[in-house]
């Protein structure tokens, strides 16, 4: 067996900067490489990467591999699988880390199959077992009803994806030193079978969910798209933004880009107000990191009350208008 060493993060960029999720991976990756006493590397693909590579080094990366190419969001996943598997075959890392993002969800499974190795998706904790030196992979299962810890002792490299917001992002320290190494990201075009026809970004006006301090979320209990007027109004007064659960998304009441939960955004605002939300673990997976959770629901037995800090049992149509009035008076709008 080859000598697999170190941790390689497959990083992601947004507007030429590393994403928050990548910063979280750097802090997790740093702990893992310190536990193994091996190097932490980061792979970045994009254009003009010198500055962002320096930033990554200040965040704790020992070695940044930079490849000149199109960022993931504008590229074809098939191409990225080919690029990353080529890079991994050269570098032979022991651990390959992704975020549980569009890229991680798509690339990690195929990469593991291609490298004939193991993969664990959507981990919330990764540690090195001090005795066996194997990677312990903790992940929620059964929609969050249970948590499983896995190890894959006989397989290298080990591919894992990490849930966003499961760890704190790495903090910069400009005294850190590291190395920047260019890599080739050329792939055999004859092997690319798909063709990217269109990339559409549905612009969400206002505050991004991941950065919002206050989020008001409407669930299936809202009953239709009209009810979201109240949700929007409350969010606006509190200086926040709105989210939805899967029901309003699947029913087409509201756009998918607002969905919070296992199959949507993962958020951690200071205040999370869940209105007409039953509290399925699959939704809570996306918001349980919030500092304060408030639940408003007609059903006193709704599971959301088990996960909230404050609750009102009642009809949101009656509760929200007075909540809005009171907040308006408070913030003197």
């Amino acid at each position: 067996m080859a000598d697999y060493k170190g941790v390689l993060i497959c990083g992601e960029l947004i507007e030429g900067k590393v994403t928050t999720t990548t910063k979280e991976l750097i802090s997790t990756g740093r702990k893992l490489s310190d536990g193994l006493n091996q190097l932490l590397s980061l792979l970045l693909i994009g254009q003009n990467l010198q500055e962002v590579a320096d930033e990554a080094i200040s965040l704790g990366v020992d070695k940044v591999y930079i490849g000149d190419g199109v960022p993931y969001a504008e590229s074809l996943p098939e191409r990225y699988v080919a690029i990353i598997s080529n890079v991994c075959k050269q570098i032979e890392p022991f651990i390959i880390l992704f975020g549980q993002t569009d890229m991680g969800r798509d690339i990690a499974p195929r990469l593991a199959a291609r490298l004939r190795t193991s993969v664990c998706m959507d981990c919330v904790e990764l540690t090195i077992d001090p005795d066996t030196r194997s990677l312990l992979q903790t992940k929620p299962v059964y929609g969050g009803n249970a948590v499983a810890v896995w190890a894959s002792e006989n397989y290298q490299p080990q591919v894992v994806t990490m849930r966003p917001r499961a760890s704190a992002p790495a903090e910069p320290d400009t005294s850190r030193k590291g190395e920047i190494v260019p890599v080739t990201v050329k792939v055999d075009d004859s092997k690319i079978k798909c063709k990217l026809l269109e990339t559409v970004k549905e612009e969400v006006k206002g505050i991004k969910l991941e950065e919002a301090k206050v989020i008001v979320t409407g669930g299936g209990g809202i009953g239709g798209s009209e009810g979201f007027q109240l949700i929007k109004e409350l969010a606006q007064i509190l200086g926040g933004t709105i989210g939805i659960t899967r029901v309003p998304c699947d029913e087409g009441w509201m756009p998918k880009s607002l969905e919070i939960g296992q199959t949507g955004h993962i958020v951690s605002p200071a205040l999370y107000i869940a209105v007409g939300v039953s509290g399925a673990p699959q939704h809570l997976a996306g918001c349980s990191g919030s500092k304060c959770i408030i639940a408003i629901n007609k059903d006193p037995e709704a599971h959301i009350f088990k996960e909230a800090d404050f609750g009102i049992v009642g009809d949101y149509r009656k509760a929200l208008p007075s909540l809005i009035e009171k907040c308006k008076a408070l913030f003197a709008i």
């Binding site: 002792e153 798909c194 949507g264 996960e307 909540l323």
Partner: protein, 266 residues
């Protein structure tokens, strides 16, 4: 368009968390009493997407599942929705297979069926929440793959797949045959029709074993698993909810704001 849909039977993911029980010793989920297992909801949406394609372009839908005798129930469900035939892949040697082994078993069955244009899988199974099997099947069969599809069209003999992204979507052209995993944005699957239920009940559901699939024993079952389950537990809930009482919802809302100010939240 001949479509193969891979489906899985799982414990009902909609059960209230209070009914969710584990056997910590054996690291297994205890099936909830009186609540029968169901077709994985994401797989049901894959069946729905297959039916939409069949409605538009014609062809035949075959559903495949790796499971025990009881798994024929979900095959029947897919047939009653409108799928044409179903096969259960059942062998003692398949038990406790991981995603790689399951994908291998399904790939062998897909090879055996041979005549297909498209393989559909749900984006993930709502039990272990991995989202691996479809992608591994594509790698095994050397087929192009698109994950997390919301819609598929077939203009000019090629697939045009709308892939959901966190902030929008991509449209990808894919040559046939291909593997596509299906996301929940497909929406609500159709209900079985009365006629569908009757015709499904009359259909034979063949069972294929490891030898029918010419399956390599080193690639299936618990011994082939690439990961070992060390521990399975129910997470501790840390929050304690303070219910704000009031004569009316309006009164409770006003009290809530005061309480939040006192707690320093707003």
């Amino acid at each position: 368009m001949n479509i193969i849909v891979c489906i899985k039977q799982i414990p009902d993911p909609e059960i209230p968390p209070a009914k969710f029980k584990l056997d910590i010793e054996s690291k297994r989920v205890i099936p909830p009493e009186g609540i029968p297992p169901v077709i994985n909801p994401y797989d049901e949406q894959a069946v729905e997407l297959a039916l939409r394609l069949k409605d538009k372009y014609g062809g035949k839908i075959t559903v495949l599942t790796v499971g025990s005798d009881a798994a024929s129930n979900i095959v029947k469900h897919a047939l009653s929705m409108g799928a044409d035939q179903g096969i259960v892949l059942n062998d003692k040697a398949f038990e406790d297979s991981d995603s790689f082994s399951t994908a291998y078993i399904l790939s062998q069955a897909i090879r055996k069926i041979g005549d297909y244009d498209l393989v559909l899988c749900g984006r993930q199974a709502a039990d272990w929440d991995e989202g691996l099997v479809g992608s591994i099947i594509a790698e095994n069969l050397g087929l192009p793959l698109v994950t997390l599809a919301e819609a598929i069209d077939v203009p000019d003999g090629e697939l045009s797949v709308k892939q959901v992204t966190l902030e929008g979507y991509q449209v990808i052209a894919v040559p046939i045959p291909a593997v596509v995993t299906v996301s929940n944005e497909v929406g609500r699957p159709r209900l079985p029709s009365g006629w569908g239920i009757i015709s499904a009940s009359q259909k034979q559901i063949p069972v294929w074993s490891a030898s029918d699939l010419d399956a390599d024993p080193s690639k299936i079952g618990a011994s082939a698993a690439r990961r070992k389950l060390i521990k399975l537990f129910i997470p501790v809930r840390e929050r304690k909810c303070e219910i704000i009482e009031g004569e009316t919802e309006a009164e409770a809302s006003v009290k809530l704001v005061d309480r939040l100010i006192k707690a320093g939240v707003i």
